[in-house]
């Protein structure tokens, strides 16, 4: 019962945030000096065509009315029609979101699989060579522009060395697996299509490394500092004094506590990955949400911009909620309040 109450409160909170997000984005997209109809129809359009277009997209209605129409539409699952692609925004999002999701998952996986061990390693050997290596690499990771890294990585690994592909999700002549989730790796596993599996994995390497570098650095630093904190505790000194075997046990215990902050920021990391995906997808010709957002923003396609923003803005709270739900169920202390 407490759980249901907790869940309900969080969901209401998320809904409130989404309303705020939608109002702000709506306001922004409509404070536009330029005319989206002109953007869509181009230089050769006649005035009559532009007027017809504006009527079709309700651009001639007053703002609050447009907003209400929009919200009513959302409740029916209709996110409006994209001015640029002339398709339902919901369809556009459904097409592009899985690609970004797959890229973000891959980047997140790399961040955890590389970042956590690196952080631990660096904490254990504090002050020595491994520590320096990790800290320099982490510093660079937090200071590199992701688009610049992407350009260099493509130039080196695709152009000069030819080891990895320079863009896209699959080889040109490998057909995509039947769509179940839209994540090619998952779908090809489900369909036992090993050609597609191999091809999609290879194509994921460079973009996810590029996108994930920043969050790997963040996670490595966070793991390092919480490990150090744990290692400096009294019980660690006692364990050291008592002997090696005890110390191993304590390290493991310490590790568990050290990882708590890391797990906590998974949601936050995921949100920042979505942001970084915008630039990564441009460089790697990745047909995802980021590229869709850029194209929409440039063409003043505000239904699309609204749709993307709402979708992206909901990811972080939902991911956080998922983590909290997991904690709630699995940690009896929290349940007892």
């Amino acid at each position: 019962m407490r759980f249901v109450g907790f869940l309900l409160r969080r969901i209401v909170g998320i809904a409130a945030v989404m309303i705020g997000v939608s109002v702000i984005t709506f306001a922004i997209s409509h404070v536009v000096p330029a005319d989206p109809a002109v953007a869509a129809l181009g230089d050769h359009a006649t005035d009559a065509q532009i007027a017809a277009f504006r009527a079709e997209y309700h651009l001639d209605r007053p703002l609050p009315e447009q907003y209400v129409t929009y919200v009513v539409g959302i409740l029916h699952g209709d996110l409006g029609k994209s001015i640029r692609t002339r398709r339902a925004v919901a369809d556009d999002l459904a097409d592009s979101f899985p690609a970004t999701l797959e890229l973000s998952f891959a980047a997140l996986a790399i961040s955890l699989l590389v970042g956590i061990p690196a952080g631990i390693w660096s904490a254990i050997y504090r002050g020595r060579v491994p520590d320096v290596i990790v800290r320099v690499a982490a510093l660079a990771g937090g200071s590199l522009p992701v688009f610049w890294l992407g350009l260099i990585v493509i130039g080196l690994f695709y152009y000069q060395l030819g080891w990895l592909p320079g863009g896209g999700r699959l080889d040109t002549f490998v057909p995509p697996p039947p769509t179940r989730t839209g994540l090619y790796v998952v779908d090809s596993l489900l369909a036992l299509d090993f050609d597609a599996l191999r091809s999609s994995l290879i194509h994921l390497v460079l973009p996810s490394l590029t996108l994930g570098y920043f969050s790997t650095a963040v996670i490595a630093r966070m793991t390092r500092s919480s490990m150090l904190e744990v290692l400096g505790q009294d019980y660690m000194r006692t364990a050291r004094a008592k002997g090696l075997a005890e110390r191993l046990i304590v390290v493991r215990h310490g590790l568990r506590n050290a990882l708590i902050p890391t797990v906590t920021i998974i949601g936050l990391t995921f949100g920042s990955l979505l942001s970084g995906a915008v630039l990564t997808e441009t460089i790697f010709s990745w047909p995802g949400l980021g590229r869709y957002a850029t194209a929409s923003a440039i063409s003043l396609d505000f239904p699309a911009v609204l749709g993307v923003t709402l979708l992206a803005a909901i990811v972080y709270p939902v991911a956080n909620l998922a983590v909290d739900v997991a904690y709630y169920w699995l940690d009896p202390r929290i349940q007892r309040g």
């Binding site: 592009s96 039947p178 179940r180 568990r256």
Partner: protein, 542 residues
């Protein structure tokens, strides 16, 4: 430690489940053919032409809707038209679906009769009949999308003016104020593409004349059909099994969306792409002499120009406009910025169309320009200069072009402030006559000189002349008259007259006519790009 792993894996599992739940929602948008037959191999890599280009302008493949470059290129190879141009020749109309045609003076109208070739089939197997032609043209008028004005305004067609007098004859009546010659060139455009009315009628929903279906499916009689269009990623064309003409050598055409020209260049050099469409002049030079690749150029009918708003002082002063024209280093732009990939033209009719005027008297003459300015007696000139974002035709960045012009004009003491804007903002301002200097390009809608002369001279057409506030009734009338002249020699003379006048009096600085640049694999042959904006894939081999 393990509890943390458990938490982490539970989070992953939860999100995966959510993603999987979204899966069925993701399905409907993928066209039914996509998952099943997404194999581009009717032969695989060896017989599929892979074209890397920026396809972000692709909105629909419906011939009644398509108007942007990517769509036109694809629709042209999927739908046949009544008449066509062959190869790169834009002066002779050749038979297409129609084997012969004639024009009769019927009093108040021109009656054009088209006789269809026998034995033509659509990809569905249905025969091509006059009813299909009537249906196709009428739906284009009814849908009234971007290209429809070619039928309704230029040719002044009404739906009831298109009739099928028998299963293989179409009769179209044009009002006397429209030009049958112009109409014939309009018919070669994708707007004149003929769709399979029997098939499309079964796909109509909610009165859309089958537009939703034809957005990403094809129903034509051309050499290729649309296999699939994965949005934002690629379009695949495969050969039409029921094509009445010679089977094309390449069984597949794959157009991949690769917006970064660097990626296109890499793909071309590695053999992952056969054609790269958006390379810069530098990249083209860099490809010279490299093994396995070659480059080719093709004429285009575009004009890159600066519009000067004659409503905004001091641009209302002819001498000021002439001074700005005189100060520009046209040769430098073509030689250095475009690396030779542009033709020098300063008149409003592009080279390649009858009536093009090669007179190009302007080349950076600082002294003369300054004299003109002094004569104008307007004091110090400071102007706002709207420049688009992105790349200009010819492969040079708009900003580089703008910066060069800014520095050319600074030499004669004119200060221009560059304001770079995305095309949408720029067009809104320009259309509302609010620009001062605007850098932009124009391409004719159909390969007839009137497609440029009208917009550039006729204020009432609410096109380019209107946007630059140039209301010159005399020249506008001359333009309209010239459009209706039937004798070719007289027409050319009339256009020479008009273009000479506009050269020194109009509000335009015509900079260059860009050359289209293509990077190709050396084994690709027959890629003959027509300046109207397409290539016949059926003639390409590799």
């Amino acid at each position: 430690m393990f509890r943390q792993l458990r938490y982490t894996s539970i989070v992953f599992a939860v999100v995966l489940l959510v993603a999987a739940a979204c899966g069925p929602a993701a399905n409907p948008s993928a066209s039914p053919g996509a998952s099943a037959s997404a194999s581009p191999s009717a032969g695989g890599a060896a017989s599929t032409l892979v074209i890397d280009q920026d396809v972000s302008d692709l909105i629909s493949l419906d011939p009644a809707v398509v108007y942007e470059f990517s769509g036109v290129l694809l629709a042209h190879n999927v739908y046949d038209t009544l008449v066509r141009f062959e190869g790169t020749d834009l002066s002779t109309i050749k038979p297409g679906l129609a084997t012969s045609w004639d024009t009769k003076d019927a009093g108040t109208t021109w009656d054009m009769t088209f006789k269809l070739k026998t034995g033509q089939k659509f990809a569905s197997g249905n025969a091509v009949t006059a009813d299909d032609v009537v249906y196709s043209f009428q739906r284009a008028i009814k849908l009234n999308k971007s290209p429809a004005f070619l039928f309704t305004d230029i040719a002044q067609l009404k739906a009831e003016s298109i009739k099928a007098s028998d299963p293989s004859t179409v009769v179209i009546s044009l009002p006397k104020t429209a030009s049958p010659a112009a109409f014939l060139t309009i018919l070669t455009f994708t707007l004149g593409g003929v769709v399979d009315s029997k098939e499309v009628k079964t796909k109509e929903t909610g009165g859309d004349s089958g537009s939703a279906y034809l957005l990403d499916h094809s129903s034509g009689s051309g050499p290729y059909v649309v296999d699939h269009w994965t949005k934002n990623a690629e379009v695949l064309l495969k050969t039409n099994p029921n094509y009445a003409g010679t089977k094309p050598p390449l069984s597949g055409i794959l157009v991949k969306h690769v917006p970064e020209s660097t990626n296109q260049q890499f793909a071309l050099e590695k053999g992952d792409a056969d054609v790269a469409r958006n390379l810069t002049p530098q990249q083209i030079s860099a490809l010279q002499g490299k093994a396995g690749v070659s480059t080719t150029t093709a004429a285009s009918l575009l004009l890159v120009y600066v519009g000067m708003n004659a409503l905004k002082p001091p641009l209302n002063n002819v001498n000021v406009r002439e001074a700005l024209r005189t100060a520009v280093d046209y040769d430098g732009i073509i030689k250095d910025l475009l690396k030779g990939n542009g033709k020098k033209i300063q008149g409003i009719v592009p080279l390649g169309l009858a009536g093009a005027n090669e007179t190009a008297p302007f080349q950076a003459d600082v002294a003369k320009a300054q004299t003109l300015l002094t004569q104008a007696n307007v004091g110090k000139v400071t102007l706002d200069f709207l420049v688009p974002t992105g790349t200009a035709p010819g492969g040079v960045a708009w900003s580089d072009l703008g910066a060069k012009l800014q520095s050319d004009w600074a030499k004669i003491g004119v200060t221009v402030n560059i304001k770079q804007q995305p095309t949408a903002d720029l067009l809104t301002t320009y259309r509302a006559q609010q620009g001062q200097l605007v850098l932009i390009n124009w391409g004719p809608d159909y390969p007839d000189p009137d497609a440029n002369v009208g917009p550039f001279t006729d204020y009432k057409a609410k096109s380019i002349a209107y946007r630059n506030g140039w209301d010159d009734a005399a020249i506008a009338q001359k333009g309209r008259d010239a459009a209706l002249i039937t004798d070719p020699a007289k027409r050319v003379a009339a256009y020479k007259d008009i273009t000479d006048y506009v050269l020194h009096n109009g509000p335009y600085v015509i900079l260059y006519q860009p050359t289209e640049l293509f990077g190709l694999r050396s084994n690709v042959k027959g890629f003959n790009w027509s300046s109207i904006g397409w290539v016949d894939f059926a003639s390409v081999t590799k």
